[in-house]
């Protein structure tokens, strides 16, 4: 019956597409590590935007010249970074969007410096 042949073709096509997609997702997920050095509350100009693909494993290695608390919004990761040591934020970029990393200065009552541009923006694209 032609109808069933069409159906079968569609089914096989769908299965193939699914398999290829599964393979691609598996293969394209990369682990990316970024070394970021904070000096006077800023990172280097070329490090202020980090673009990754959905599914990547992202590892941010922070070093700083003074004690600082960093907060990655959305993924909601907070790390206190001390001078002389490396603070690591590691997460799987499952959720798409643009997520700011902001500074919560430990010495200034924990408040945000309102209206300041974020330290780093992480953009996760689908």
């Amino acid at each position: 019956m032609p109808c069933s042949a069409i159906f079968r073709t569609c089914l096989i096509g769908a299965v193939l597409a699914w398999a290829i997609r599964a393979a691609l997702i598996g293969a394209s997920a990369a682990e990316l590590a970024f070394d970021l050095h904070i000096e006077r509350g800023r990172v280097a100009e070329n490090m202020s935007v980090i673009r990754v693909k959905q599914g990547d494993v992202v590892r941010l290695r922070w070093s700083t010249d003074r004690s600082i608390i960093l907060h990655l919004h959305g993924y909601d990761i907070e790390r206190k970074i001390e001078p002389g040591s490396i603070g690591v934020m590691e997460f799987t970029a499952d959720v798409t969007g643009r997520f700011p990393v902001e500074v919560h200065r430990s010495s200034e009552g924990g408040g945000h410096s309102h209206g300041d541009a974020p330290l780093v923006r992480i953009e996760v694209y689908p």
């Binding site: 799987t92 959720v95 798409t96």
Partner: protein, 649 residues
Amino acid sequence: MLVSFTPATAHGFGQRYDLPLPLPLYLLGAAAAVVLSFVIVGLFVHSAPPTRPHSRSDLFDYPLGRAVAAALGVPLRLSALVLFAAMLLAGFLGDQNPYRNLAPTLVWIIAWVGLAYISAFVGNIWPLINPLRTIFDGVEAAYRHICGRNLALDKPYPHVLGVWPAVLLLLAFSWTELVYPTPAVPSHIATFALGYSVLTWTGMFVFGSETWLRHGELFTVVFGTFARFAPTEIRTNPPKPQFLLRRFGTGLTYRDQVSPSMMALVLLLLSSVLYDGLIATPEWSVVESAVIARLSDVAELGPMAVRSIGLVAFWLLFLSAYWMVSIIMSAATQWQFSPRQTAQSFALTLIPIALGYHVAHYLVYLLVQGQYIVPLLSDPFGYGWNLFGTASYRPNIAIVGARFAWYTAVGAVLLGHIAAVYLAHVQAMQTFAARKLALASQIPLTALMVVYTCVSLSILAEPIVERSRPSAQPSAVAENKIAIPADAVLPDADSGRLQAIGPGQFARTKLVYRLLGSAFHDGTKMTAADLLYPYILAYRWGIRGDGRETHYDQSIDTATAPIRRQLAGLRVVATDTASKSFRVGDVDFLREVFTIEVYTTSTSMSPEREALPAPPLEYAALASSCSDGRSSRAKLGGIFADGSHSPRR
């Protein structure tokens, strides 16, 4: 959960995680706006619009409509009143963390954004639930009952004032939302709300409740303006209440002109939503610091001052652009109407553009941040209550992805544009006697609408310069590191019990096995648990403890050591009964296919390596695939690939 106060760049309250529109989508949207405008103009050139009187069916003519209205009316009004009171109490007495207090989410997200959508796409419900009105009307009714006369002074409202009180209040409201540094602090919200209530009640007391609601109650005027687009019209006036159905946008084309104050309000609505998008872009931060630096010797300006000026300037810019277009329209139609009359005739047709951008900018925000209302309703004051059992709900920020956001944004902006151009043409056909004049009047207005739409899209896409800024380069890249889902399990080293591994674990290799389940020799059906059992066995019998335990076997230890060393997680993904079932004659072969994922820490560099933990080796593998693209069937030596084999025990 970690919580932080929001930076002022966000709308009123809450975080936005929007990605800028991709460049191709942006260009496509802009091009479509231009092309569709021509298509609509062409339609009107060739044929006049259907001018038949729109059929109005009244839902209150039907018993069901009346029953629903009667059932919903009072409860809705009461819940609005209760929420209003709860918001004030929470603001003054509750936890001052904005995420643990009802007030910010309720005011900025649910009421301000949510009610705008209900008004625009369902109908004008604010006059029916307005808690300020409920309170005033209640007090007035009680007063009339006791003293026998009206409470309100009912002074005549000065006609020239129009809706200017509402315009000024909208400006103040937008300022609070976009410029005020702490719009999310609950006590500030409650203070503003109380102050605004007192102002509204004073207005109602002086001019009478209905008069003030129509001219000075910001939300009645704003939601009422959005609701002109809605497909329903609610009339509560005597002789009888009506609930009329109409086409979208019918309420925006009227023969009579709107007042100058209404025109100012429409352009303020349009400019303030766009301004909200504008100041959230990274480019704005750059421009803002540049302006502050440039003017530093002239005057000491903070970001607040720059933003306040920007808000008003953006409004005046939109207003003057519209005014100039009105002059051109007036000239193009042989001065049949003065520029002012022209401007007042067409102001409302800009509303769909404002709505389109509103949806593009706020819908995802409402869907993501609006979820906070679920836990907050159970714990409005942050005291740890759980009134409705929803206090532990955690918002899912992945509820919609970036693609959904992009397509709805472009779609909404384009639909708004089409509606605006179409309605303006309909309005022109009603306003001008000669069709030629009507069409001539629309060329400048359509051009202006294209400009507004492209500005909307540009703000969504952000200026192209940002796109060229390169991403930071990773210092190390390792392929094939795979996150293990938090619900994967691993047998416990002591007891062999399966424990969830939790988030943040990684594997080198992921194997997906699809296994055909069949009956055991005694007829019992195989289940997913049978697939996991051998792993449990390997851990339970393969680990030597302190020597006293009863379950230890040297041979199992030796045989399963590589598996135990490398196994990082197991996950039963699905049990699929349908896809492999078939039928021969009268006999149904119902086949269950189990999909399990195995995560290992080995890098599987050589496909010949035997150490990869395969699923229970006696079981038949129907099909399997492996994340690195190689078939893992080869690794399952000795397995019956046709799947017809019954498992042995």
